[in-house]
């Protein structure tokens, strides 16, 4: 369940992040402002508060979501704000001359974005993206507060039954470590390979 919430939240975050990063770096001032407001609001409010608004808040006004979809939406919207900034930094890291050159060769703005800017921006954003996925994996532990049955929630149930809190929470910590540590190592290796490619 932890994996489902993490993967679901990640996919929603990436989609929202790409859309809003496009809006944030685009030419339309309304969209640009909208993206700015989205990033600032959702980065300034705790993800727990956002989860409670989506799960308990919407539930009380008649929109009842199951805990798992609620958690995926909550983490997705919250993560989207973080990834908007990550992708924006990636897009801005690609030199402006590239877009101008593509334009001079007759590529439309959309094609320039897809074929020229995005592939390079993706490289720049990749390390942050890996870090984000590790953060997300750990944050899903908060879904236990809205009773989505992931690792932490199950651990809580076990503790209630057995009272072996130290052992069980240590075990939970080890469980998270076994998933997030390889991710961190993977991220570092990826980073090294990409920077090596650039220096060559």
């Amino acid at each position: 369940m932890t994996v489902i919430v993490t993967v679901g939240g990640f996919v929603v975050s990436v989609i929202l992040g790409l859309l809003f990063a496009g809006a944030r770096t685009g030419r339309n001032p309304v969209l640009r402002w909208l993206a700015y407001a989205y990033v600032e609001v959702f980065r300034a409010v705790p993800v727990l508060t956002q989860l409670f608004i989506i799960y308990f808040g919407l539930g009380a006004i008649g929109i009842k979501l199951n805990p798992i979809p609620a958690a995926i939406i909550g983490f997705g919207i919250n993560g989207g704000a973080n990834l908007t900034e990550v992708f924006r930094a990636g897009i801005e890291a690609v030199g402006r001359g590239q877009a101008e050159a593509a334009h001079a060769l007759g590529l439309s703005r959309t094609w320039t974005m897809i074929h020229v800017i995005m592939p390079q921006a993706f490289r720049v954003s990749l390390p942050s993206l890996v870090n984000f996925s590790i953060g997300l994996l750990k944050d899903t532990s908060l879904a236990s507060a809205v009773a989505a049955p992931e690792v932490s929630f199950n651990a809580h149930m076990l503790v209630d039954r057995t009272f072996l809190s130290t052992q069980i929470y240590l075990l939970v910590a080890v469980l998270y470590l076994t998933i997030s540590f390889p991710l961190a190592v993977f991220g570092r290796r990826l980073e090294r390979r990409l920077t090596a490619g650039r220096s060559r």
Partner: protein, 222 residues
């Protein structure tokens, strides 16, 4: 139905919660800043075993959720007959959590100061501790200011997790009001707005620091 007077009756309790949140975040930040610096210095001290202890600590903290660490300290220690009140447990857990992240930031800040500087200072006869205190750290602080401000923002938001061990802070009070009136939507929306009012100025400050250090870098390049 929701009315202005109803919201007004919630505000005192939410206000008290917000103050406790600020208190918790400040104490945890202080603990993290000091402990993080000690870890960074111990890691770079050149002692092999100390380095390994620090690395293990950092990897463990960074690889596990804040919530799990909070539960370990609060429920875990209780079962070993060490009873800590929720507020203090949250300060310790969050402080130790951020100490690991800050240690990494200090380390990169120290590494960014070229080794020629500390060699020069050592050649001038400064003691190793004084080299750190007088030459390296003052310059490193400039570099780490933006990430350190960002830590303050994340820490402020992460205090909300303390409500899950019933430590008194903003999110806890919001949940209390919710269970009394059963109006989660307005209560949590107002709570979110309060968090925003606290975190947004910090976010502007972080942006300011980032721009300033960026400008400095650009000026240095010219």
């Amino acid at each position: 139905m929701i009315s202005m007077s109803l919201i007004e009756s919630w505000l005192p309790e939410l206000g008290v919660g917000a103050l406790r949140t600020v208190e918790m975040a400040s104490l945890a930040y202080l603990l993290a800043a000091v402990a993080g610096l000690l870890i960074a210095l111990a890691e770079g001290s050149g002692l092999r075993w100390l380095y390994l202890v620090c690395r293990t600590y950092i990897e463990f903290i960074r690889g596990t959720p804040t919530l799990t660490q909070l539960f370990l300290i609060y429920f875990g220690l209780t079962s070993l007959n060490v009873v800590i009140p929720g507020f203090q447990a949250a300060v310790i857990a969050l402080g130790l959590h951020y100490a690991a992240y800050m240690a990494e930031t200090y380390r990169s800040g120290i590494a960014a100061i070229s080794s020629g500087q500390s060699e020069a200072a050592a050649a001038l006869g400064l003691h190793r501790l004084n080299v750190m205190r007088l030459v390296v750290l003052p310059q490193a602080i400039r570099i780490i200011l933006p990430p350190m401000t960002n830590f303050a923002i994340s820490l402020l938001k992460d205090t909300s997790v303390a409500s899950l061990i019933a430590a008194p802070e903003l999110m806890m009070n919001a949940t209390d009001i919710t269970s009394e009136y059963y109006m989660p939507m307005p209560v949590y929306l107002i709570t979110g707005a309060i968090y925003f009012l606290m975190a947004f100025p910090l976010s502007l400050l972080a942006g300011h620091f980032e721009r300033r250090s960026g400008n400095r870098l650009r000026r240095d390049l010219v």
